[in-house]
Symmetry: C2
Subunit: 296 residues, 2 copies
C-alpha cells in the first residue's frame, strides 16, 4: 500500500482514482468542485480541503488538472508543492507545455521528485485502465512513480523531464488535425450540399475509420472546449508560424465551441450545430439521412 | 466480354487494366507516355494512338488522368469524346471538381452517358482490386458502368453526376489533414528537439495508427506532388475561406514537395528532408533512432 495524493477529479481523474483504490492504495483527493470529492470518498478515497492537504504524507502525488490550472493547484500556500515531503514524487499528468514543466521544476521543494506523465487515450480508456502513460523524468523519480501509474494502463518511458508533454503535444498535432479536419470535411459537405451521414459512412471505410469511430463514440466523450484549449497549449508550445495546420484547426474548434450553448461535447462536432455560420441556419442541410447532393 | 477503352496508365491505371484483362474484356489503352502503353499491351491490351482511338468502338470508356489533364484527354479532335459512339458510357475516375464534371457533361456527344467514379484507396488497393469506387450518375449510365468498375473493388453508388467527386473531395479533407498533420507533428518534433522515430512509434499506438501505417507503407507509394495537386483541386472546389485547415495543409505539402529534388514519394514525408527549412540542415535532428530530447 502506498499513500497517494490525487488532485484534479475531472473527466479523467474521476475515472482513474477508482483503479488506485482497487489496487489498495490509500488515496487522498482534492478538486475545486466539492461534489467531485464526495463522489470519490463514496468509493473509499479520503477527502482533502486543499491540494496541499491531499499531498501531505503522500508517497506519490498525482495531478490531473487542465494546463491553465497548474499554477493554482501547485503553487502558493495551499498548493501541492507546499504539502509535499522530501523523498516523495509528484507526477503531472496534464497536457501542458515543456516550459510550464520547467517552471514547476524550478520551484520544487528540496528532495521532492518531479515527473511528467501525460496520457494518451480518452475517458473510455481511463475507465478501462487502458491509457498509455508517457512517463518522463530522472531514473529515481520515474522509479517512484511508475508502480502507481501502472494502474492506469501501459507506461512508456520516453526520456528526461519534459519529454512526456513534448511527445504528447507532438502526437496531439496529428490527432487534432484529424479531428478538426473531420469538422472541415463536414464544412465542405455543406459547401457542396452533401449529406453528413454519407460522409461519415464513407470515412468509416478508409484509413480514418478509427478517428470517425472515436468521434462518434458516446462512451468516450470529450468537452469540445477542452479540445480547443488543448490546441491553445499546443500553439503556445510550438508557435503559430511552425504549426499553421494546428493554428487553423484551433480557430475552427473555437468557432465550433462558441457556436452552441452549452458548448458541445466532441461527438457533436459531427452535428450541424457546429457548422460554419452561413450554413448553420439552413434547415435540412447537413442532416443525417438527408437525400444527398442538390442541384443536379 | 465488353469492349473497354482506358485512358491514363499512371500509378493507378496501370494497376487497374490487368483486372479488366483478367475479366476477359477487350481493353484498348492510351497514355501520353508510350512506354506505359507498351507495358499494358504486353499483358494483352490493345494500344491506341490517341484518346479518341482508345474510345472508338468501346462500350465503356474509363479515364484515370489527373484533374489538370482532363480537358486535354477528353476534348478536341483526338479526345475521348470525339471517339465515343452513342449508347456508350464514359466513367471519369479522376479526383476533380464538380465544376469540371459539369463542364464535361455539357460537351458530351448525343447519346453518350457520363458517370463520375473516383477512387478511395491507393496503389496497393488498386493492385489488389480492393478499391472503393464512388459511382455517381443517372441510373442508365451507372448501370452500364458498374459491371466494369466492379473489377476494381467495391462500387458504392452515392448519387447524381458530380456527387462522386464531391464525396471524394469531402473525405479527402480528413485524410489529407491527417497526412499533412503527420508532417506538422514532425515539425513540432524538430521545434522541441524530439525524435521522429519515437513520434512515429507513439502515433502507431493510437487512433492514428492506420494513417501512420499507410504513410510508411512502401507498397502503397504516392508521389508527394500528387498529394499536393489533390489539395489544389480540393481548394478549387471548396474555397480557401471555407477550408483553412486544408489551405494550410496544401501550403505545407507544396513546401515539402519543393524541398527535395526529385520530389519525394509520400512515404518520405516522414523524413528529415521535408522538414521546415531552418531545421532541414541541422544534422542529427529528426533522425530515426536519435537519442531524444535535448537540453534537459
Amino acid at each position: 500500500m502506498v499513500a497517494v495524493g490525487f488532485v484534479g477529479l475531472g473527466d479523467m481523474g474521476s475515472r482513474m482514482v477508482p483503479h488506485l483504490l482497487r489496487a489498495n492504495h490509500r488515496v487522498s483527493v482534492f478538486d475545486v468542485v466539492p461534489g467531485r470529492i464526495d463522489a470519490m470518498t463514496a468509493l473509499g478515497a479520503v477527502g482533502a480541503d486543499s491540494p496541499a492537504a491531499a499531498a501531505r504524507d503522500a508517497d506519490v502525488v498525482i495531478s490531473a488538472v487542465m494546463s491553465a490550472d497548474i499554477p493554482g493547484a501547485h503553487l502558493g500556500e495551499g498548493g501541492i508543492l507546499a504539502g509535499m515531503r522530501p523523498g516523495a514524487a509528484l507526477a503531472v499528468l496534464s497536457t501542458t507545455t515543456p516550459a510550464m514543466l520547467q517552471s514547476l521544476a524550478s520551484q520544487m521543494p528540496a528532495g521532492v521528485h518531479l515527473v511528467d506523465a501525460p496520457l494518451i487515450g480518452g475517458v473510455r480508456y481511463a475507465s478501462e485502465a487502458a491509457l498509455t502513460v508517457l512517463l518522463a523524468g530522472s531514473d529515481d523519480a520515474t522509479a517512484l512513480a511508475e508502480p502507481i501509474l501502472d494502474a492506469f494502463g501501459q507506461v512508456v518511458r520516453v526520456g528526461p523531464l519534459g519529454s512526456g508533454v513534448a511527445y504528447k503535444l507532438i502526437t496531439n498535432v496529428v490527432v487534432m488535425a484529424a479531428e478538426a479536419g473531420l469538422r472541415e470535411a463536414l464544412d465542405l459537405a455543406d459547401v457542396l450540399g452533401a449529406s453528413y451521414q454519407t460522409t461519415l459512412d464513407l470515412l468509416a471505410r478508409g484509413p480514418m475509420a478509427a478517428v470517425v469511430k472515436r468521434a462518434l463514440d458516446r462512451d468516450n466523450p470529450r468537452a469540445l472546449r477542452d479540445s480547443a484549449v488543448d490546441f491553445d497549449v499546443l500553439l503556445a508550445a510550438g508557435g503559430e508560424d511552425n504549426l499553421p495546420i494546428s493554428a487553423a484547426g484551433r480557430r475552427r474548434l473555437w468557432a465550433a465551441t462558441e457556436a452552441t450553448s452549452p458548448p458541445p461535447v466532441f461527438v457533436d462536432l459531427t452535428s450541424h450545430a457546429t457548422a460554419l455560420p452561413r450554413f448553420r441556419n439552413e434547415p435540412g442541410r447537413g442532416q443525417a439521412g438527408e437525400p444527398g447532393l442538390h442541384g443536379e
